[in-house]
């Protein structure tokens, strides 16, 4: 392989890595909000992503045949709508289940409630997977879109060579994901609610003395976390076929991204997810494809070893 060809391979993989990584980043932000505010490791996060995918799919199946709703960009609107809907679901799940083992209730449980939280979220994941299998069936589905197999062509960038293809569906999804992250980060930094969530995250006791309802803050944070990850799922629903067990494939990526970026940091989680996407794709241009995940977890272990707080986990928390 000559140098020009090598450069084309690298640029193509790098472009794919950015598009994949931005979606990973969005999902990681969802997860880190929950951990940052509630200190809960949510094993069911992948399953909430799956619910976001099915929401987008069913709404598109239901409305997609009607005029006005059959456009190429309607799935993106539905993916964004999955956010508020799953925010509501997350709220209910917190109220009905998680509240019993988090916040003030956690102090009454063994291990500060962590054991109960782990078992509860893991159980919730199993219930959602198997409930999904029962409700949605095992058939692989995806939201049909011409954009998922169409690309913008960039180039030739050098003589008649180096042409880069940019997938249209992934590009739009990545832009929307980036927009959601920026809006959310700004909201958390500037709004009154965002400040109260950060206060509840930093020092729950002090927050209570300041008149903040910590339980409500947890409920909202859980809703935000679930909703943001569901948007990520909705944005993936055209490119990646899915079934009720799809969450398992992504939850490990989410955790790796969050830990690499720094637990509890929005910017860190996003950049952690983005790094994983780029590493995953670029490594395939110079290593055997089978070693993609090995590369990710080697970098992950190196981060843990050299910078245990994560790449961006020093000062920031949910900001």
């Amino acid at each position: 392989m000559d140098v020009v060809q090598y450069i084309e391979n690298f640029l193509q993989s790098f472009a794919a890595g950015i598009l994949t990584g931005v979606i990973y980043g969005l999902m990681c932000v969802g997860l880190t909000v929950i951990f940052g505010v509630m200190r809960v490791i949510n094993f069911a996060q992948g399953e909430f992503m799956m619910l976001g995918m099915y929401f987008t799919y069913f709404m598109f199946s239901w409305l997609g045949g009607y005029p006005f709703f059959d456009g190429l960009y309607f799935p993106f609107v539905l993916a964004l709508l999955a956010g508020p809907v799953l925010f509501g679901v997350g709220n209910l799940v917190h109220r009905g289940l998680l509240q019993k083992v988090t916040g003030q209730n956690a102090s009454r449980l063994e291990g500060g409630g962590h054991y109960a939280q782990l078992v509860l979220t893991f159980g919730l994941a199993l219930v959602l997977q198997n409930g999904g299998l029962w409700l949605f069936g095992s058939t692989l589905v995806s939201v049909p879109s011409e954009l998922s197999y169409s690309a913008w062509e960039m180039g030739p960038l050098y003589q008649d060579r180096i042409i880069i293809f940019i997938n249209q569906n992934q590009s739009i999804a990545a832009l929307l994901a980036l927009a959601v992250v920026l809006v959310f980060a700004r909201y958390m930094a500037r709004s009154r609610l965002g400040k109260s969530l950060r206060a509840a995250a930093d020092n729950p006791e002090a927050a209570v003395y300041m008149g903040i309802d910590v339980s409500r803050a947890h409920r909202i944070a859980f809703g935000f976390g679930v909703g943001i990850t569901a948007i990520g799922g909705g944005l993936l629903a055209s490119n990646a076929p899915f079934q009720p067990y799809i969450g398992t494939d992504y939850v490990i990526i989410m955790y790796a991204g969050v830990v690499m970026g720094g637990l509890g940091s929005i910017r860190g989680a996003f950049l952690g997810g983005l790094s994983i996407g780029i590493l995953q794709q670029v490594s395939a241009s110079f290593l055997p494809n089978q070693l993609q995940n090995t590369m990710i977890f080697t970098c992950f272990l190196l981060t843990i070893l050299l910078r245990p707080q994560g790449l961006f986990g020093l000062r920031e928390r949910v900001a």
Binding site: M1, Q5, E8, N9, Q12, S13, A15, A16, L19, T20, N130, L133, G137, S138, T139, L140, V141, S142, P144, S148, Y149, S150, A151, F165, N167, N239, A240, P241, F242, Q243, Y245, D249, I253, Q280, Q281, A284, S285, P288, N289, Q290, Q292, N293
Partner: protein
């Protein structure tokens, strides 16, 4: 008070009549031989649940046909009963399910299924120890190289398929395009079936024998997150023929869509796969038929000419648009177990295994397997197993090779 004698006569007659009536009604029921239990172990949860469901539908249809046609004649018309076990989503779970199957159901006389070769390899470790015959369509050559007595591979093995498919496909390409392909790219996942398929190509002399140069050799671990780097390699090398070997529908979609995106799809690059993933009805749920047109796959079994009746009934009861190798093979496996029971004349698992080893049939159950003859070698390989080639034509994957049983003529993609 003394009752008259005639009263006792009447009462005795009444009781006697009642007894006779009861015997008349119930004796045939008692005479009905007990159902003979056979097992089906397939993934019914997890990512491969869909394929398991299809296999179950095929097996259930066969059991229905066997029982409505009088059951097992050699056992007095005993019906067959299908017990289904969930192999789950991992090798470990498949093995656990097999252990549960042999422990909970000692009366099983035979079993079938498992789907992924890696699952079948684990399941047969258990069934072998339990002396339970296991019929499978899994392709891996490892299944029959371990010296097992109770495993029966009804499809052509992966190595057989690739060794024999390559010259056939090259001849077809030469006849259709006038030029024999000289370069080949391989993009495959690392599941046991794909590895078995490419082993003779990569490690044997298949490339040299066919004057082919391997220009891309990419192996990935499923599921893919993005197929860009894989298809970029193919795009850069511009091979004459692509062997594309994913074993899941999701990876098939990602790879074919990426080929289209890079200008290699819709027949521009002749693409051959292996196994049923590339002929799965779910593909149409996830991508337009135009992207699949012309894609070929080498399979161990598929709907053939002469099976139209079963195919139609299967389509009606299952709602599936066509009958894949998974459904058809399990349909055939149930009939093979029935044939074995007829030969054995006793509902005993060891006798059934012996009957399967001695079996040599060219009609009945044999008609559900390519080659139309079923007999097994000592290692459990089906001696007359043949490969089939299917191709997507007008939105349906149809059998195109061998000509004798093919539904349609092959159309080699024009570059």
């Amino acid at each position: 008070m003394r009752l008259p004698l005639c009263f006792f006569m009447t009462a005795r007659s009444f009781v006697l009549s009642l007894g006779l009536l009861t015997a008349f009604v119930y004796i045939p029921a008692f005479a009905q031989p007990a159902a003979v239990k056979v097992g089906l172990i397939v993934p019914l949860s997890g990512p491969w649940a869909r394929q398991g469901q299809v296999m179950r539908q095929g097996a259930e249809l066969a059991i229905k046909h066997i029982n409505t046609q009088g059951g097992i004649a050699a056992l007095g018309g005993a019906p067959m009963e299908l017990l289904v076990f969930d192999a789950g989503d991992s090798v470990e779970r498949a093995k656990n399910a097999a252990q549960r199957m042999v422990a909970d159901e000692p009366d099983l006389v035979g079993a079938a299924g498992a789907y992924l070769s890696s699952f079948t390899l684990a399941v047969t470790e258990v069934t072998e120890r339990a002396s339970l015959s296991m019929l499978t369509l899994s392709y891996s050559d490892l299944l029959t190289t371990r010296g097992f007595y109770y495993v029966f591979q009804t499809s052509a093995s992966g190595a057989y398929q690739s060794t024999n498919a390559l010259p056939i496909l090259l001849d077809i390409a030469t006849a259709a395009s006038g030029a024999r392909p000289k370069t080949i790219a391989i993009v495959m996942d690392n599941t046991a079936a794909s590895v078995a398929f490419v082993a003779p190509i990569k490690e044997g002399s298949a490339l040299k024998d066919n004057n082919l140069e391997l220009v891309v050799d990419e192996v990935f671990t499923p599921p893919l997150a993005n197929a860009t780097s894989l298809i970029q390699r193919v795009r850069a090398a511009r091979p004459d023929l692509l062997l594309l070997l994913p074993t899941t529908v999701s990876d098939s979609k990602l790879l074919l869509e990426k080929m289209n995106e890079f200008g290699l799809g819709r027949g521009k690059l002749p693409t051959v796969s292996n196994g049923s993933a590339m002929g799965d009805p779910d593909l149409l749920q996830n991508m337009p038929a135009a992207l699949l047109e012309g894609v070929m796959s080498v399979v161990g079994n598929w709907s053939l000419r002469g099976q139209e009746g079963i195919i139609e009934e299967y389509k009606n009861i299952s709602g599936e648009p066509w009958m894949t190798q998974n459904a058809l093979s399990e349909y055939g496996h149930m009939w093979l177990l029935k044939e074995a029971l007829e030969l054995a004349g006793v509902a005993d698992k060891k006798a059934v295994a012996e009957a399967l080893h001695k079996m040599d049939i060219s009609n009945g159950a044999a008609s559900y397997f390519p080659g139309n003859r079923v007999r097994f070698a000592a290692d459990g390989k089906r001696i007359d197993a043949q490969l089939l080639v299917i191709q997507w034509q007008n939105g349906v994957p149809v059998s195109v090779y061998p000509d004798a049983t093919a539904m349609q003529k092959i159309k080699w993609p024009a570059p």
